[in-house]
């Protein structure tokens, strides 16, 4: 109806600024994507919800794998807000839904992906208040395990991180199951049937005899389990 003047109601508007990330792929694209994956792995969720400008200035019409670049980024959850450089008439990008880059903007220098800051929070430590008896199996796939009692012969403790045993270790202790080579095994009295860190193991026979019955830590040096007295 014409009874309402177009200017009589004003819609609400306000300004907001975002820092857009500019990604500038380099050739060969396969390597660049692999490097990107590596960074995403170290900082999960870093790109989530972030506006990204794709800068194709280093690409050419015949760059190999160029047609797959945009789908590959979208697959990784990267939202491309605009594309700069390059040429939308290239046959390689003919299939792309080419978002127009916002005008203006100024470069604000390189952005470094925060190292580890966005990785999932540290897995909590499992504390077992008593002894782990023969036949019992404690599995804690992410964090450390602390046993206040002993680990009996025939018992098993498996941890993604380190294993700390305040009593005697007479059974099995397996640390770093997720591939964590830095994890260690600590015990007040080493009498273990088997210890393992990140897949490298030692049976009782292979253990350092001078540590038997003593406070000991076990760690991995390269591909060798090292037994060190705890003082």
């Amino acid at each position: 109806m014409s009874g309402t003047h177009p200017n009589s109601s004003r819609i609400r508007m306000s300004g907001r600024s975002f820092l857009a990330l500019t990604l500038t792929p380099e050739t060969p694209l396969v390597d660049w994507l692999a490097a990107l994956d590596h960074q995403i792995q170290r900082a999960v969720g870093f790109f989530a919800g972030k506006p990204v400008i794709l800068d194709l200035s280093l690409m050419r019409a015949d760059t190999p794998d160029l047609p797959h670049l945009l789908p590959a980024l979208q697959e990784r959850g990267i939202r491309v807000l605009g594309i700069e450089g390059g040429d939308r008439s290239w046959p390689a990008v003919a299939d792309w839904a080419w978002p127009e880059s916002p005008m203006g903007g100024r470069a604000s220098g390189p952005v470094s992906i925060p190292e580890g800051e966005k990785t999932p929070t540290l897995a909590p430590t499992l504390v077992v208040e008593e002894s782990v008896r023969s036949g019992q199996h404690i599995i804690w796939p992410d964090g450390d395990v602390v046993i206040l009692g002993a680990v009996s012969s025939g018992a098993e403790v498996t941890a993604g991180g380190s294993v700390h045993i305040y009593g005697a270790l007479r059974g099995r202790a397996i640390a770093g199951i997720g591939g964590n080579a830095d994890s260690r095994i600590f015990t007040r009295n080493l009498a273990a049937e088997l210890v393992a860190i990140d897949g490298f193991y030692a049976t009782a026979e292979e253990m350092d005899a001078k540590c038997t019955g003593k406070p000991t830590q076990v760690m991995l040096a390269g591909e060798t389990l090292v037994f060190k007295p705890l003082l």
Partner: protein, 271 residues
């Protein structure tokens, strides 16, 4: 309410049945009313050790299945009148022990007696689990040797995880009873010392029963050693263990044979 006590070990042949009979008789002699329940369905022995094998009519399985009532199945001891036995069935197997049936029998016995002592079969399967399931406290019978100690450790883990008490989040009282202890062999290092066993199992010590021919003799005449030879070293050790179960503070010692001059002369002459 009665105290429900399970005598268990994991390993066979360490002295569960002997201990059940001896502790039960010692408690009964101290004036407590006691019932011994044999859970070793299919391999019952407690009736023999108690000398009641010729008086068994009905058994635990008959009661569980409703073929007999408790009063019919309970066998009263002829020597100590506060002591009773509920024998196991020899012809059935442990699958006949149903959780509901066992729960009802234990609940009924708890109303009549001060102590319900369950003699567990060896192993960690159904029979042993049924015997321990309703217990308030456990006596773990262990010989001073590595295989027995490891099996006991396994059983302690089960007592702390699978029983009714554990599932209710309560702690089961557990006591270690070391049987067939030979001080001379321990001194020579042929046997694990009590300190080693205690360190590994880390539960309170109820007593140390010395190895003695009196135990076998008592079994053969069908009497608990605490009734047959009350002054023998093992009987004194069991009697002291029973006093500790009743809450008395008695220091743990290893009773040794009393060798009088007469014994010494006699043995010399025989030799």
């Amino acid at each position: 309410m009665a105290k429900v006590l399970v005598v268990t070990s994991g390993k066979g042949g360490v002295g569960k049945t002997t201990t059940t009979a001896a502790l039960g008789a010692a408690l009964a002699r101290a004036g407590q009313s006691v019932v011994l329940v044999d859970f070793d369905v299919g391999l019952r022995n407690l009736d023999l050790v108690m000398g009641a094998e010729r008086r068994v009519v009905f058994d635990l399985i008959n009661v569980i299945q409703g073929d007999a009532n408790l009063a019919q199945a309970l066998i009263k001891d002829k020597r100590v009148d506060t002591l009773s036995l509920l024998p196991a069935s020899q012809t059935r197997d442990k699958d006949a022990l149903t959780p509901e049936g066992v729960a009802k029998v234990i609940a009924d016995l708890s109303k009549k007696f001060d102590w319900v002592i369950c003699d567990s079969p060896a192993g960690i399967e159904r029979g042993a689990q049924m015997a321990m399931h309703h217990a308030d406290m456990a006596v773990i019978v262990t010989n001073p040797e590595v295989s027995s100690v490891r099996d006991s450790d396994r059983i302690i883990g089960m007592l702390d995880s699978t029983t009714e008490k554990a599932k209710a989040g309560e702690k089961m009282e557990k006591f270690l009873l070391i049987t067939r202890y030979d001080p001379q062999r321990a001194a020579r290092g042929d046997m694990l010392g009590t300190d080693d066993v205690l360190e590994i199992l880390s539960i309170p010590l109820l007593g140390i029963i010395p190895e003695s021919p009196d135990v076998l003799k008592a079994s053969n005449v069908g009497a608990p050693v605490t009734i047959a030879e009350p002054d023998s070293a093992p009987a004194r050790a069991y009697t002291e263990a029973a006093r500790r179960l009743m809450g008395e503070k008695v220091e743990v010692t290893i009773p040794t044979e009393r060798k009088g001059l007469f014994d010494w002369l006699f043995k010399r002459r025989v030799a």
